[in-house]
């Protein structure tokens, strides 16, 4: 079973995606409410096959989480990332597209997000 970690400070976003992803029995969902918790979970051994990463979060932004995950000496730098965001500015979309495997704007369609997760995981 593939493990998907969602890093998002909004509990309702995590709840919806957990429900959607786990209903098919294909995925195990790991929720993190912040960048800090993301790293705590990783250090505890919860290593996902894919990270869904919100950009606009307090304290540590999704950009910073991405950059730390992808550092040269990071043990997590091979985990693919899909950016999720409510930000509508062109710069965020563009940079998210450069660095992420995909970039998905909120609100998203749940069937669409499942397809995009599958697409990324099937590339691996």
């Amino acid at each position: 079973m593939k493990k998907i970690m969602m890093v998002d400070d909004e509990p309702d976003q995590r709840f919806v995606l957990k429900t959607v992803l786990e209903q098919d029995g294909k995925y195990e969902f790991i929720g993190a409410n912040s960048g800090e918790q993301c790293f705590e979970l990783l250090q505890q051994g919860h290593i996902p096959d894919l990270i869904l990463l919100d950009i606009m979060m307090p304290e540590m932004s999704g950009w910073t989480v991405h950059d730390r995950l992808k550092k040269k000496n990071s043990p997590y730098n091979n985990i693919p990332i899909i950016f999720l965001t409510g930000a509508t500015d062109d710069d965020s979309k563009e940079v998210g597209g450069w660095f992420g495997e995909d970039y998905i704007e909120k609100p998203y369609d749940v069937e669409d997000i499942k397809k995009r997760i599958d697409k990324v995981l099937n590339k691996l």
Binding site: W63, T64, K71, K72, D91, E94, V95
Partner: protein
Amino acid sequence: MNALDQLNDNADILQEFSNLPDEWIVLAETSAEKTLGSSLSMIKYLVDDKGYVGIVVSASRPYNNLTNLYQQKGIDTNKILFIDCISKSQSVELEEAGNVVYQDAVSDLTNISLSIKTAMDKIPEKKFVFIDSITTMLIHNTSEIFDRFIHGMITKLRIKGVSGLLLSVEEETDEHIRFQIADLCDKVIKV
């Protein structure tokens, strides 16, 4: 001869630039001992002689050191915005100034990208982005993530009509990446 004294011996560098169109992407390859002298020559020519505004992304030297060097050579630092990727990670005292943006680390490529894009949008004049240097950035980043950065950035420069100068220390940059980047540039010059 020290690096600063080399400045006046680089007439051939200037010749290379004089043949370029208004908007260009250049990979400048240099040796480790000539890196500083060559970059000062190029910046001085572009800013003082050609009237460009520079966006200097420094992964090699902190802002206060770079501005001192530039000023010693008479480069107008008011026409340069520095994106300093070194000072914070090296705990260098951060000098408050209107022409510097500090990044946490050379590995913060998304934040560096956003700063470059913001700078490009805010500066209305003819401008260039100087990446100093590819070699140093590759020390801190995987080739995969750096490849994403450089492809995205060069595409953006072309769309926006902004020139780009990428500095590489010849003997220290991975050959495969060097070829990939050279393919994206209009010209490769040896300085």
